[in-house]
């Protein structure tokens, strides 16, 4: 199995098809490859769910974030949101998913994207973030609480508008590993 030698050329659909054919031919149940920051893992027959990270990211729009003080949310969102990636033809793998870490609000309060009005936001969609980096502020009882990122990665989604109230456990950011 060889992927293209050209470093500019990222893994494409044909490469993935090739991997899957190889697995079928050799009756493999699991395959993992890491290369140029791209990691692909494919499992069959009830193995761990496949994980594939490949550009462009597909932002899962699962359950919409539930703003504080409104209607009932759907079942509590899982800690990580999985959605089949378009990088893989869905029929060719038993399961394929993109992994996102979701940063949830640890407190009730008002969500702010910047340190003060008019200041640039801490992060934007696409920002590279590190564990421990401040993502936003939640004001509770006149106290500004800095909310830190607990994963390294890229900001894929910001679920909440600046100045919007948030409740405990509400989704704030999706971070792509």
């Amino acid at each position: 199995m060889t992927l293209t030698d050209d470093p500019e050329q990222k893994m494409n659909l044909d490469d993935v098809k090739q991997i899957l054919k190889l697995m079928r031919d050799h009756e493999l149940t699991e395959f993992e490859l890491e290369r140029d920051g791209i990691k692909i893992r494919v499992c069959k027959n009830g193995g761990a769910p496949a994980i594939a990270s490949a550009p462009p990211p597909v932002i899962p729009e699962a359950a919409p974030a539930r703003p504080a003080g409104q209607l009932k949310p759907p079942a509590a969102p899982a800690d990580t949101v999985s959605q089949p990636s378009t990088a893989l033809p869905p029929a060719t793998a038993d399961e394929a998913a993109v992994d996102y870490a979701v940063v949830k609000s640890p407190i009730v309060g008002t969500f702010y994207r910047s340190s003060e009005p008019g200041a640039p936001p801490f992060v934007e969609v696409g920002s590279q973030v590190k564990k421990g980096q401040v993502l936003c502020i939640i004001e509770a009882m006149k106290l500004m609480n800095e909310i830190e990122c607990d994963h390294d990665g890229e900001v894929a989604t910001i679920y909440v508008e600046d100045g919007q109230p948030v409740q405990y456990g509400e989704r704030l950011f999706a971070i792509k590993a």
């Binding site: 409104q70 509590a76 409740q167 405990y168």
Partner: protein, 458 residues
């Protein structure tokens, strides 16, 4: 009047407060922990905010989360219900600082009554009969022995921060005192974070009598008569009634006016309950003041026709009491049974999912509950699932209505205390009104091995 009230509680009492708000045309905000997402109080409040994980300490006892929820929803008042933060002077103070009205007494009054030794002194000064005892905390065995000798055994050691029977020890002789004192101090420290205890004369087989008061911010104080809550197990009330079969009209008037005077003396506002022991010779002894709405408030509502929660809200908003003492009329008799999700023999909690829930109505029946088929009785919180309240023209009719209601109640999925309630309701002493806080001892506390559990529904 308030536009929006946040209810800092859960379960039946959160719903009870929603009823009052709806009747007054006030919008409501429910707060809930992750364990209560599907609860009725969340469903029927106009808005709701998740304030934390299931553990009470992180949710229903989390003052910053509750205040923030009030701020983000623009609530102008907080009703704390009972339990959780209902007697938190701290919450009342934070509310004041945040310009949110706390529906309850002033924080200074909450703090005074929360310190049982200080409350005793304040009541004594206001002319309320108080049991003889140490007038402050007792630290050492030496001091304890002296106090106990002066009082005469038996004595009772109580936690200054007290409540719920924790940090409490009955001592019948001098050699037991040293160990009991240390145990009580340790228990008090663990339960309340304050190890201070005091000693009082112990009254054998007393009746528990309490008086409901309401005070507005214009100096008016009224009482709504008494409730008798002598049927208790491990200091948990099981059956309450109003009026008490032990009080004559003369005793009621005298006790009522003593309490009203005492409430005035400490500038008591909003709703409160003054608890007393009634000894076998007919003397009242002050126990404590609960600075909140009580679980058993419905029995008083049934015999007076006064909606205590609505009065609380009106008084907190600065309105005058809508009636005078002379206009409070007691009519008939009311009984409340606290139906808990517990094993009726051992009283150990029985959390789970309620699969069937049906309580008959009919004349004179009131039901305060959050339960319904498929409702969850969470292991995180108290086991009260329903308050069944009946009213009758007299005590006998109220009891008959309670019996037929509980006999025809069907609750499946969790064990309940209904079989125990039915035993009490057919006890000759109970029927004769011969009650005392030692009443429940006749049923024993331990479950006998091999004993068949009683039928879930009767």
């Amino acid at each position: 009047m308030f536009k929006k009230i946040l209810i800092a509680n859960r379960g039946e009492i959160a719903l009870r407060i929603i009823y009052a708000c709806r009747e007054l045309g006030i919008r409501t905000v429910a707060v809930f922990s992750e364990a209560d997402e599907n609860s009725l109080h969340v469903r029927f409040a106009d808005e709701d905010v998740c304030i934390g994980p299931p553990r009470s300490l992180d949710s229903y006892l989390n003052v910053p989360a509750i205040i923030s929820a009030a701020e983000i929803t623009g609530a102008d008042a907080i009703h704390p219900g009972y339990g959780f933060l209902a007697e938190s002077a701290y919450l009342a103070e934070v509310c004041e600082a945040c310009h949110i009205r706390f529906i309850g007494p002033d924080p200074n009054v909450i703090r005074l009554m929360g310190d049982k030794a200080r409350a005793r002194r304040a009541m004594k000064k206001a002319g309320v009969p108080v049991l003889p005892g140490s007038d402050g905390p007792v630290e050492s065995e030496e001091k304890g022995q002296k106090v106990a000798r002066d009082l005469g055994f038996p004595v009772i050691i109580k936690a200054v921060a007290g409540g719920g029977g924790r940090g409490m020890r009955i001592v019948r002789s001098a050699p037991e005192l040293g160990k009991a004192l240390k145990t009580a101090q340790r228990e008090a420290e663990a339960a309340f974070g304050v190890g201070d205890v005091y000693i009082e004369k112990y009254v054998e087989s007393p009746r528990h009598i309490e008086v409901q008061v309401l005070g507005d911010h214009h100096g008016a104080v009224v009482h709504l008569g008494e409730r008798e809550c002598s049927i208790q197990r491990r200091h948990q009330k099981l059956v309450e009634e109003a009026p008490s079969p032990a009080l004559s009209e003369k005793m009621r008037r005298k006790l009522g006016s003593t309490v009203v005077d005492a409430a005035r003396a400490v500038q008591y506002t909003n709703a409160g309950t003054f608890e007393f022991l009634l000894d076998p010779s007919g003397n009242f002894h002050f126990l404590e003041v609960n600075t909140r709405l009580q679980v058993e408030h419905p029995v008083t509502e049934c015999i007076t026709g006064i909606d205590i929660v609505k009065e609380q809200i009106r008084m907190a908003a600065g309105e005058r009491l809508s009636f005078k003492q002379g206009e409070v009329v007691f009519s008939g008799h009311s009984i409340e049974c606290r139906v808990n999700a517990e094993d009726p023999d051992t009283l150990t909690p029985s959390p789970g999912i309620i699969h069937a829930f049906s309580v008959p109505g009919g004349p004179g029946v009131r039901l305060d509950t959050f339960a319904h088929a498929e409702a969850v009785v969470s292991p995180y919180y108290d086991s009260l699932i329903a308050k069944v309240v009946t009213w009758g023209r007299d005590r006998q009719e109220a009891i008959a209505r309670m019996r037929r209601t509980l006999e025809m109640t069907v609750i499946e999925g969790v064990k309940t205390t209904i079989p125990l309630h039915l035993k009490i309701l057919s006890d000759p002493d109970f029927l004769a009104g011969k009650l005392s806080t030692s009443f429940m001892e006749r049923y024993g506390v331990e479950k006998k091995p091999g004993q068949k559990p009683l039928a879930e529904t009767a």
